[in-house]
């Protein structure tokens, strides 16, 4: 008999399967209709869902709220853009973003993990603000204008290649990429390492008595989250062909937090569903009224008050019950 965590993880996997199937149908319809915009919007939604995933790793599994995850998202985006403008290679861009995220993530993690709770939120907020300001003023990074002219690339697998300009192709590629990030995160959190993180979240003072180190796992989680944010960010310039300092601004971090909370904290899959929901919502509401912040803000407040466990708090238990009934019968 599986324990509660494994059970809820299984329910999450069912939701992933639903997401993948829905995305495939979406892509098929998009191709049939010759659509570009919705496929690209979907791709962007998935990219920002990747950022939300990294926020959820921190918030859901270590209980630490990062208000500055855009720092790593922007880092990945800028490194990727700079690499692509020199050599249009997907793997070089991803390698660069990964390396940069590990280095900066370790430094940032050492600073931020000195503190807990609200202090962590404020220190991550501050770090991202300072980084955004530096980028905004840096001429070599295009300063406030950002960098345009990131070329269209081919993601080369040796046996096949996908062009970042192909709406459906790049959508499916991004889907696969984000799902792999999700799977890696889900796997890691189901290992003893992940359980240790959850134990730390529950009671940090007791964990050392069980013979575990508390500093390294936290730092590990922080760096993993940084890498996931940066790799998601690295896809952005491939899709849109540019980067701008706004990618590091607080609104980007804030949106990721809104996404995770609405989707369901600590579920990982909630971040993906939330990301898609928020991007679509913003796009639709934005076309009707310029006061979309009122609407988004109110929906978010409603989610915090009435859905403390997010959308997944409603959906996942239902699936868990379904699964349980099946195993019994």
């Amino acid at each position: 008999m599986a324990d509660a965590l494994t059970r809820s993880m299984r329910a999450s996997h069912v939701l992933v399967a639903i997401l993948v199937v829905a995305s495939l149908i979406f892509a098929a319809v998009g191709v049939a209709k010759g659509d570009t915009f919705y496929l690209r919007l979907g791709t962007e939604a998935l990219i920002f869902a990747g950022l939300a995933l990294s926020v959820d790793i921190l918030l859901g599994y270590t209980g630490l709220l990062s208000l500055g995850q855009a720092l790593y998202f922007g880092l990945g985006a800028y490194v990727s853009a700079l690499v692509l403008m020199v050599t249009p290679s997907f793997w070089a861009a991803m390698g660069g973003a990964f390396a940069a995220a590990v280095v900066v993530g370790v430094v940032g993690g050492v600073i931020a993990n000195r503190v807990r709770g609200v202090y962590f939120a404020l220190i991550t907020f501050g770090m991202a603000q300072v980084a955004a300001k530096v980028v905004y003023n840096m001429r070599s990074l295009g300063a406030s204008d950002g960098l345009i002219g990131v070329p269209i690339i081919n993601v080369n697998f040796g046996f096949a290649a996908i062009s970042s300009a192909s709406p459906a192709g790049f959508f499916l590629f991004t889907l696969a990429f984000i799902i792999i990030l999700y799977a890696l995160a889900a796997y890691l959190l189901d290992t003893p390492f992940g359980r240790l993180l959850i134990a730390l979240k529950a009671n940090e003072r007791r964990v050392p008595f069980l013979g575990y180190d508390t500093v390294t796992p936290r730092l590990m989680a922080y760096v993993i989250a940084a890498v996931i944010a940066a790799l998601s960010g690295a896809l952005y310039p491939m899709l849109r062909g540019f980067v701008s300092p706004e990618l590091l601004f607080f609104s980007t971090s804030g949106n990721a937090v809104i996404t995770v909370v609405t989707g369901g904290v600590g579920t990982l899959i909630g971040a993906l569903y939330g990301g898609i929901l928020l991007t679509l919502l913003k796009s639709v509401i934005g076309s009707y009224t310029e006061h979309h912040l009122v609407v988004i803000g109110l929906l978010f407040m409603g989610a915090v008050i009435f859905l403390p466990r997010g959308l997944m708090g409603i959906v996942r238990p239902a699936i868990e019950r379904l699964l349980a009934r099946r195993t019994k019968s």
Binding site: E44, S144, R240, G241, E246, S287, E290
Partner: protein, 389 residues
């Protein structure tokens, strides 16, 4: 009701003129900041475009087709602007796009247009790079760029304050540094001396910390390129510290505008700038435009409103000349196009897609932008520095 009836009348007139196929409207997408820091500018862009569209439609539309504007809020964020531009091009199938304000958005949306094979025009961004080193065959600019503004202002400076001692205060980002550098070289060419420069972070709360430097420089003229609410703070704080009495403040055209002038109040008196438009330009065309704009929006047009208004007429002229809305044909028609705007005739230079126009020097007097000089378009424009076409 009245709006609808005029629309109907126009529609009928159009059908009568050019037959049944006229029912299909020409769609122009507008990606402009309707929320966030630049919402005030987006408002002027919207009003200018709406007024011109109403007039064009009432007079039978463009080549007999009605014009439809589709607005999207870009939140002054290039990442949002790009997504919205994509939507307008792909879903709404707009024929033309305009409205971007900050240069980051203009450049990024220009790239989207290039990849989608469409044309855009900016009526606001004045970073020189848009029509120089980062120019694009699909991007046009109908407003005056920073270089034109500095050139006009420098001519005035040499006449009114010969050999002045100038101090520079710019916002510390790309636009601020390039406007200061451009004006500095223009001013030094006409004999001004520079006594110091300082760059303040964007959204500075308190400019008083730079006043010591400003005082000790003993400058006669302060050049600044801060904008929006930053200008409100800079000028009112200077007034508070009694710095405005012996100092002439000059600046970029976006420094003092219709949006922040009421808030600055008396502290803006005497401010001089080089600009492509002023509501006080004394021509019948402009008076008619200002009256119509006032009637519709209860506010004077500023340079953004006027340049946006003029764009619709440029597009109309180009489409009618090209005989279609096809990108290549319209691009060709826009190149070297001459057309009438409230501020006089403008020419779109084929070499870099930059509008050439008479530049005005205006001084704030009694809360209005009074023209105190003008410089011909050819003297202000500077060389074509676009490497791509």
């Amino acid at each position: 009701m009245t709006y609808k009836t005029t629309m109907m009348a126009a529609l009928l007139a159009a059908t009568a003129l050019s037959g049944a196929q006229a029912a299909d409207p020409i769609k122009i997408g507008v990606v402009t900041p309707l929320s966030g820091t630049y919402a005030g500018i987006g408002q002027q862009v919207r009003w200018g475009l709406e007024l011109a569209t109403k007039e064009v439609n009432a007079a039978g539309g463009i080549a007999g087709r009605q014009v439809e504007l589709i607005f999207e809020d870009e939140e002054a964020n290039p990442a949002v602007a790009v997504q919205k531009a994509d939507k307008l091009f792909q879903v709404n199938k707009v024929d033309f796009l305009t409205g971007t304000v900050n240069s980051g958005s203009t450049l990024a949306v220009g790239q989207v247009a290039e990849r989608a094979g469409k044309l855009i025009a900016t009526t606001v961004s004045f970073a020189d790079s848009i029509t120089t080193d980062k120019c694009s065959p699909n991007v046009f600019r109908v407003n005056a760029r920073a270089g034109q503004q500095s050139a006009a202002l420098a001519v005035w400076l040499s006449k009114d304050k010969p050999k002045a001692n100038v101090f520079y205060l710019g916002p510390d980002y790309e636009m601020g540094r390039s406007t200061v550098a451009a004006f500095k070289s223009a001013a030094e060419k006409v004999g001004a001396t520079s006594s110091g420069e300082v760059f303040a972070p964007l959204d500075s709360k308190d400019y008083t910390q730079y006043f010591g430097q400003l005082r000790s420089a003993r400058a006669q003229v302060l050049y600044t390129s801060v904008a929006g609410n930053d200008t409100v703070r800079l000028l009112t704080q200077m007034q508070e510290f009694g710095l405005l009495t012996n100092l002439t403040v000059v600046g970029a055209s976006g420094t003092v505008t219709a949006q922040n002038l009421p808030a600055i109040g008396k502290a803006a008196e005497g401010f001089v700038t080089g600009v492509g438009y002023s509501a006080q330009i004394d021509t019948p065309e402009n008076k008619k435009f200002v009256a119509a704009f006032q009637a519709a929006n209860k506010m004077d047009p500023d340079l953004y409103g006027a340049d946006s208004y003029g764009l619709i007429y440029a597009y109309k002229a180009a489409v009618e000349k090209a005989g279609s809305t096809d990108t290549d044909k319209v691009r060709k028609a826009l190149e070297d196009l001459k057309w009438q705007t409230p501020q006089g005739e403008k020419t779109l230079r084929a070499g870099d897609h930059q509008a050439i126009q008479t530049m005005y020097v205006v001084r704030v007097t009694g809360g209005k932008f009074m023209t105190v000089g003008q410089v011909s378009g050819d003297d202000a424009i500077g060389p074509d520095a676009c490497p791509r076409f």
